[in-house]
């Protein structure tokens, strides 16, 4: 027995001793000529899949935006720029969008990319059997799409997706959607290569091999070269992409590293050029010792607490306001969350696409105490038991504890912290089985509409039991506004309602912190956590 053991050990030692450490770039780069530019990127976690009509999530979004492109695109400043369509017209009533596709648009296998490809892609997405999670992004807007999805319309040619010729694609909407061009950048609107999908299992099959690297066909700036699950996805510059002359990096390696601490060690060991996150405990140290390696960008999302306005004591707007006014958000972001988050005194991230709130609330402990007394709880006396629900995560716990302290000190109320595993917590949220809970909302596309749409009465993600008829009416009328100035004026009125009623307690607007090697040039993390790759370069 022992001799066998010795043998095994010897084998293990020889095995590990013989192996030479490869250069830091690891797999996929060993045989490349030295001039090749390879960017190594920490992408958070393993993607579910690479079918834009199946997946949901930012990890997948970043990959799909590498391998696919929609009708239009966004530059790093979030301006709409041409994508597959080189130009487009919008009818005066805002209901018809005519896109003129570029003649040199191609799939990665060399097939020409035509308007018919878009029609067929959207038909697949709206096929009920495929069960695309984001199908509603299409059927909420496009004429006939909902009927097709519900089976009331069987002829897809009757819907608002039309291809009058190979290079013209027309979208007809049910109601104006002023944010549509930005929404078109969400992957639900990316085209898919139907012949490949048909070859591997067909149009309605969810689980097929068409997204494997040997089969995948896309139309983005990069092609999928290899995909080793939980290890590495290699993207190589596409030879067929229409704007390939402007793509600077030859290869992007996506590393699905889940743990921020692991990422940070990989960054230090030279295995990563850009990380997905920064461990909070290390952020201050990096800022002090390597400020050139830290990057914090605004993120189009809000961290808030959601009240259940159907439950005591939050059925009383004075209590909701009191809790919101009694916390010190500046101190929270400076001492607890640490990543330059922006204290939130309204409900929509500011300064995106030119949107700025005209009204906001201010922290005011005296006013908060007055409101609480008026609601029948002077100095917190008689305040009922309140459980604050959050999903199990250290960060949420720390924030909860900080706010719990502030409420105890400023209002004399005691709030219990209750944590639940992620899916249990989500289940309780959607079932409205909570009094007050931690929540967050990240925009799918950049437009203030995303954050106003959230609080529509009975909206699928409202979950607060709050609703207001005037608010709903304004929301609908905002869609028909002539221009953004008119639309934003309506939003300002809606924000007044939110400020008066306070259905949620805004805490801060998210930011996105990353570690980035100084040799990466032109990297921009957009507010929807995307990285437009064709602007990125590597210093030699």
């Amino acid at each position: 027995m022992l001799s066998r053991l010795t043998l095994l050990l010897a084998a293990a030692l020889v095995f590990s001793g013989c192996a030479k450490k490869e250069p830091t770039a690891t797999a996929g780069s060993g045989s490349n000529p030295p001039a090749r530019k390879i960017l190594r990127f920490g992408n958070g976690s393993e993607p579910q899949d690479l079918d834009p009509q199946i997946v949901t999530g930012t990890v997948e979004y970043r990959l799909l935006q590498t391998f696919c492109e929609g009708l239009v695109n966004e530059d790093p400043q979030m301006n709409i720029i041409p994508g597959v369509a080189e130009r487009w017209e919008i009818s005066p009533d805002g209901l018809t969008y005519t896109f003129h596709l570029r003649a040199d648009a191609k799939w990665s296998n060399g097939d020409p990319l035509t308007a018919q490809d878009f029609v067929q892609s959207y038909q697949r997405e709206l096929t009920p059997a495929l069960a695309c999670a984001y199908a509603y992004m299409l059927f909420n807007h496009v004429r006939g799409a909902k009927d097709y999805y519900d089976g009331k319309l069987t002829d897809f040619a009757q819907t608002g997706f039309q291809a009058p010729d190979a290079h013209t694609f027309v979208l007809t909407l049910v109601q104006p959607a002023p944010f549509l061009l930005h929404a078109l950048n969400q992957y639900a609107w990316y085209p898919v290569h139907i012949p490949t999908i048909k070859k591997f299992g067909g149009m309605t099959q969810r689980s097929t091999a068409w997204t494997r690297p040997e089969n995948f066909v896309g139309n983005g700036p990069y092609v999928l070269k290899s995909w080793t699950p939980n290890q590495l996805i290699v993207a190589e510059r596409s030879p067929t992409y229409w704007d390939r002359a402007h793509v600077k990096i030859d290869e992007i390696d996506f590393y699905p590293v889940e743990l921020a601490d692991t990422e940070e060690r990989m960054f230090r060991a030279g295995q990563l050029d850009i990380t997905n996150e920064v461990p909070l405990t290390k952020l201050a140290i990096y800022r002090r010792e390597h400020p050139e390696s830290v990057r914090v960008d605004p993120y189009d999302g809000i961290y808030f607490y959601r009240y259940n306005v159907a439950r005591k004591p939050f059925d009383d707007v004075r209590v909701r306001r009191a809790l919101a006014l009694a916390i010190d958000r500046e101190s929270l972001v400076k001492n607890v969350t640490l990543a330059d988050e922006v204290p939130a005194y309204n409900f929509v991230p500011q300064n995106l696409l030119g949107y700025r709130s005209t009204d906001s609330f201010k922290a005011n402990v005296a006013e908060a105490r007055r409101l609480l007394a008026e609601a029948g709880y002077p100095d917190g006396r008689g305040f009922p038991r309140v459980d604050l629900l959050y999903n199990t995560l250290e960060k949420h716990k720390t924030i909860g504890e900080a706010l719990q302290q502030m409420w105890r000190k400023n209002l004399g109320v005691d709030i219990n912290l209750v944590n639940e595993e992620w899916k249990v917590y989500i289940d309780d949220q959607h079932a409205r089985n909570f009094q007050i809970e931690r929540a967050g909302w990240i925009a799918d596309y950049v437009d203030p509409h995303v954050f106003f749409d959230l609080w529509e009465t009975g909206g699928g993600n409202n979950d607060s039991n709050w609703g207001n008829a005037e608010y709903d009416r304004l929301l609908h009328s905002s869609l028909s506004a002539r221009d953004n100035t008119g639309r934003y004026a309506i939003y300002h009125r809606m924000e007044k309602i939110l400020l008066d009623e306070m259905p949620v307690l805004p805490i801060f607007y998210y930011t996105r912190a990353r570690l980035i090697s100084p040799r990466v040039l032109g990297f921009v993390n957009t507010p929807v956590d995307n990285c437009p790759w064709k602007y990125v370069d590597l210093a030699p």
Partner: protein, 306 residues
């Protein structure tokens, strides 16, 4: 012996059946499902999602279909979380990684653990014993999530000999195997020392010595066989655990092994992947326990197959 093994294998069938059944229903009764997400999909989309995965059928029918597929086709179904992969594929992909990590760690654990344990027992109450026992104690006390990053800090970041994480080249196996191996080595060392001490006091050891056997022969030929008994019983479940992967090690070192899938599938409510990994883990555990029983009889003349 063959009869013994055959009977035990037959006994395995109802055990596995109970485990599968209990897991199937338990995971279904947990709140939340595979499509529970922060951004709720619309009700009609949810209906279609459930239909696509037959979750709209009665639970007993889903259970019957699942059992039928597993028993007659060996098909563990598609993963909910990773739609373009089947559970069979995920296991086939990741089990070898966990096996490789496990075998390397085991080799380290046994080599280091047995050496320390035997040394400590033979040189009982000398400084050698104290050093070996303390090392074992430290190994048990220091968790992998501390030891792993410490090794990375020293050998990958400070000396630059290794990658900080990953599973790309053969040399990437060193740090994770060492981390996982050290912990098990500590247990093996303590069990070996205990087992050896007990055996070294037995009559047959004295007899061996009296008959003039050399000290080396006494220890390796006569004592070790009996002294290893506690180690062998420990190794059964330990090997099953080590082979199906270690969640912590695989996460810290970014290793594409099965341990992470085993844990994360439960968080993702990836029903089929949970069941697939549970079946595998259960079968391994049962199989290795059987192997331990056989080894026990082989090592311990006091035991017989019955």
């Amino acid at each position: 012996m063959l009869r013994f093994i055959a009977r035990r294998v037959l006994e395995t069938i109802p055990v596995l059946f109970i485990i599968v059944t209990a897991t199937f229903f338990m995971i279904r009764f947990v709140p939340g499902g595979p499509f529970t997400a922060e951004k709720a999909v619309t009700p009609e989309v949810m209906r279609n999602l459930e239909r696509a995965y037959h979750l709209d059928q009665p639970l007993w029918q889903q259970y019957a279909n699942y059992l039928g597929r597993v028993i007659f086709h060996g098909d563990l179904g598609p993963s909910f979380k990773y739609p373009n992969r089947t559970v069979n594929e995920i296991i086939a992909d990741k089990l070898p990684v966990s096996l490789e990590l496990g075998l390397l760690s085991l080799a380290i654990a046994l080599a280091v653990g047995l050496t320390l344990g035997v040394l400590a027992a033979v040189k009982r109450n000398t400084w050698i014993d104290y050093v070996c026992s303390s090392a074992a104690m430290i190994g048990i006390c220091v968790p992998t999530f501390v030891l792993g990053p410490l090794l990375v800090l020293t050998f990958a970041i400070h000396f630059g000999w290794f990658n900080a994480s990953g599973w790309y080249t053969p040399i990437d196996r060193v740090l994770p195997s060492l981390t996982l191996g050290c912990v098990y080595a500590a247990y093996v060392a303590r069990l070996t020392r205990g087992g050896m001490l007990e055996v070294l006091n037995q009559d047959y050891i004295r007899t061996a010595r009296a008959k003039g056997a050399s000290e080396t022969r006494v220890i390796f030929h006569h004592a070790l066989r009996g002294g290893l008994l506690p180690v062998v019983s420990f190794l059964g479940p330990a090997i099953a655990g080590i082979l199906t992967g270690s969640f912590v090690i695989e996460t810290i070192f970014q290793i594409p092994g099965l341990g992470r899938e085993f844990v994360n599938s439960a968080f993702n409510r990836d029903y089929t992947l949970v069941l697939g990994t549970v079946i595998l883990y259960a079968a391994l555990l049962i199989g290795l326990n059987l192997a331990v029983d056989v080894a026990q009889v082989w090592l311990n003349p006091k035991l017989k197959f019955e």
